[in-house]
Symmetry: C2
Subunit: 254 residues, 2 copies
DNA sequence: CGGAACGTTGATAGCTATCAATCGACGTGG
DNA sequence: CCACGTCGATTGATAGCTATCAACGTTCCG
């Protein structure tokens, strides 16, 4: 076996690790989990997985007794569509996140859509663990905190769309994504995989494709970011911060 | 006692009823409560109340052990402010709603602000009841459903700000408010008290005061609405619906 | 009466959308 | 191998929605 093959195998193993560890990392970043809980979440992440094609819609079984699903790789989004074809990506769903909140109200025109190839695992065990504080003291709290953080990010999204310019929206989103990708191990040297097309960015930020393109080019000319070949690097976090005013949600110990 | 005085007294009693009943109506509109549960919520609504002046900020005690507070009269809003003074009303809080979700993450620049005089009551009993399914089978489910509905309305807000024009935003918001005021008994003949200034409307819908004004006047000229003296009447719901595409969240029986 | 808060109106500027066309990358079938 | 179509990114020209600035009217209240 040549060293290249060994390296490739090593890399595959690392990738697999990151995938099966996404949930454990995501929840573990919110508060301290016991080793047993971390191990438990790793096993959930390594369980039988479903594969979804890019652009496919993930059907959410209605009712709150359906088991939740967690993304372990790929990006998805909660999408709302208007009758005339306009669409809004309401919130991005990244590895370690549940596809939808535990109790979701049915809404015509609302779906979960894959932006890349997506792998999901069944989260029924997590829901059960969250209801068994004796054995899993941290998981219940972490699941709650995760939901609260997602709501805080939703408020960020409202503020972005309501009160920020195109330039600020893009900068703010990039900082949010950096903040979210960091704990799940997807960031290296301030860069991370960025699979969104400019059209998706527009639908997420309430902008037209053309204007997204022009805004990105401006940020490139100012050397704030590098975005090519599906990878985004934040070259100047202070400048982005100054432009976007992104404030990460603060978790308080309770 | 003249008949005028009798009528006035009757009216005061009705108003008091509506206030103490706001929580019961709000939660009872989501699913069937037992008579005991309804009575329980009435007593909560009639409990000791706090009074908040217009424009005052309601401090949220950090931590998830603080008892939640419910509004029983008046309007408030969750507000985010940017460093340069821009502000965004993220979500309106109406009678029967909790001031904030059960577990709230601290965020610099986020507050709850009264838009009118506001009366609140302590919701600790509701939280306890929600954890005692044996005695209160419906309340736990209703509280959860209410939170899910609020999240759905937040997604509406995102879509409004991201993908609708000023005219559509205003129409959509008016339909949402009608939808929310109906179950708590505030709507009479398609009209309800509407205490928002045009500046607040702008901060809520991501528009400037001037443009809010012009949009309202257009809708008045088209005879879609009547808005004067703090009262809003929707004269042409079908036309508003056609313009705004408001879809009320659908609760499914589980 | 003066001032503050809110609403209204006009003029102008500016941000962003829309339309149209081009370009490169990629995969497919002839 | 090349023609072809599709998708995404890019660019230019233009239109349009909305913000900003400024001024004025109205109501209310001390």
């Amino acid at each position: 076996m040549t060293s290249e093959l060994i390296l490739a195998a090593e890399k595959r193993r690392n990738v697999a690790d990151i995938r099966s560890a996404a949930i454990a990392r995501r929840l573990g970043s919110l508060l301290m989990l016991t080793p047993g809980e971390t191990e438990f979440l790793h096993r959930v992440g390594a369980g039988p997985m479903s594969l979804w094609a890019p652009r496919s819609l993930i059907e959410q079984p209605a009712g709150n007794h359906a088991s939740p699903r967690y993304i372990i790789s790929g990006w998805a989004a909660q999408v709302r569509e208007l009758n005339d074809g306009r669409r809004q990506l309401v919130q991005l769903v990244l590895p370690g996140d549940p596809l939808a909140p535990q109790l979701q109200i049915h809404h015509r025109g609302q779906t979960v859509q894959c932006l890349t190839m997506v792998q999901t695992v069944d989260g029924a065990a997590i829901r059960l663990a969250a209801r068994d504080p004796a054995n899993f003291p941290g998981i219940a709290a972490a699941v709650e905190l995760a939901a609260a953080r997602d709501r805080a990010l939703l408020l960020d999204q409202v503020t972005r769309l309501g009160r920020q310019t195109a330039y600020e929206r893009v900068a703010n989103l990039f900082l949010e994504l950096h903040y979210r990708c960091l704990p799940i191990g997807l960031v290296h040297a301030n860069g991370f995989a960025f699979p969104l097309t400019q059209e998706c960015l527009g639908d997420l930020l309430g902008l037209s494709v053309v204007h997204v393109n022009r805004t990105l080019q401006l940020m490139r000319r100012q050397n704030l970011i590098t975005l090519r070949q599906g990878r985004l690097t934040l070259n100047d976090m202070p400048a982005l911060q100054a432009a976007a005013e992104f404030k990460p949600p603060v978790l308080h110990r309770s």
